[in-house]
């Protein structure tokens, strides 16, 4: 069965420190991969996506993610965290080739807290 695992439920980093959020997936073929962010009381905002090509993907707000097929991972990184980055982060997968309408399978989420 397809699944997404985000091993870290809660992460706390200091403002200005680097960040890495982990995501592992289980899928029969190379899926489409996504990272979304959710602020309290709000919907999901897409940070970045991987469909094919360069395995290092740049997104909005200074985030990047790297697809590693051998490790079935798609970890999210940011070199310097800002207090406004505190939020819930979700990794998601969709069937490869499903275009932009494939159903998204989400991980459980990682809550990011930023210390001043």
């Amino acid at each position: 069965a397809q699944s997404v695992t985000q091993p870290d439920i809660h992460i706390t980093v200091s403002e200005g420190a680097s960040l890495e959020l982990r995501c592992n997936y289980s899928y029969g073929a190379t899926p489409y991969l996504f990272w979304y962010v959710q602020s309290p009381g709000q919907g999901l905002q897409l940070l970045l996506k991987y469909f094919s090509g360069d395995t290092l993907v740049q997104g909005i707000k200074g985030f990047e993610a790297e697809f590693k097929r051998s490790q079935s991972s798609f970890n999210l990184r940011k070199p310097s965290v800002h207090w406004s980055d505190a939020a819930e982060y979700f990794c998601a997968v969709a069937r490869g080739g499903s275009g932009n309408t494939g159903k998204l399978i989400f991980g459980q989420g990682t809550t990011l807290q930023v210390k001043p």
Binding site: V4, Q42, G43, F90, N100, K103, Q108, G109
Partner: protein, 113 residues
């Protein structure tokens, strides 16, 4: 340009009742998907509508049904509400066949007493 709008923002119902949630997609979008997000969990796919038909469905019982109108807006209906239906219900829209990602609304918070 309005994004995805959902109504109402909050709703309180009791067990056994029925509820209808509404979603207006982002301008230019023709495909609407619904997700259920329980507290502390990631969203789970309920179903997707395109050309007024249900195109994909997740693992949800028949109590969950939907509709898409000619103007692409959509409704999610849930019958015989259970306590476990308490959740944030998210709507996402996109334009099929484009490179546009799915845009999410802010959701409807449904509480069952």
């Amino acid at each position: 340009d309005a994004g995805v709008t959902q109504s109402p923002t909050h709703l309180i119902k009791t067990r056994g009742q029925q509820v209808t949630l509404r979603c207006s997609p982002k301008s230019g979008h023709d495909t609407v998907s619904w997700y259920q997000q329980a507290l502390g969990q990631g969203p789970q796919f309920i179903f997707q509508y395109y050309e007024e038909e249900e195109r994909q469905r997740g693992n949800f019982p028949d109590r969950f049904s939907g509709h898409q109108f000619p103007n692409y807006s959509s409704e999610l209906n849930v019958n015989a509400l259970l306590l476990g239906d308490s959740a944030l219900y998210l709507c996402a829209s996109t334009f099929a066949g484009s490179n546009q990602p799915q845009h999410f609304g802010d959701g409807t918070r449904l509480s069952i007493l």
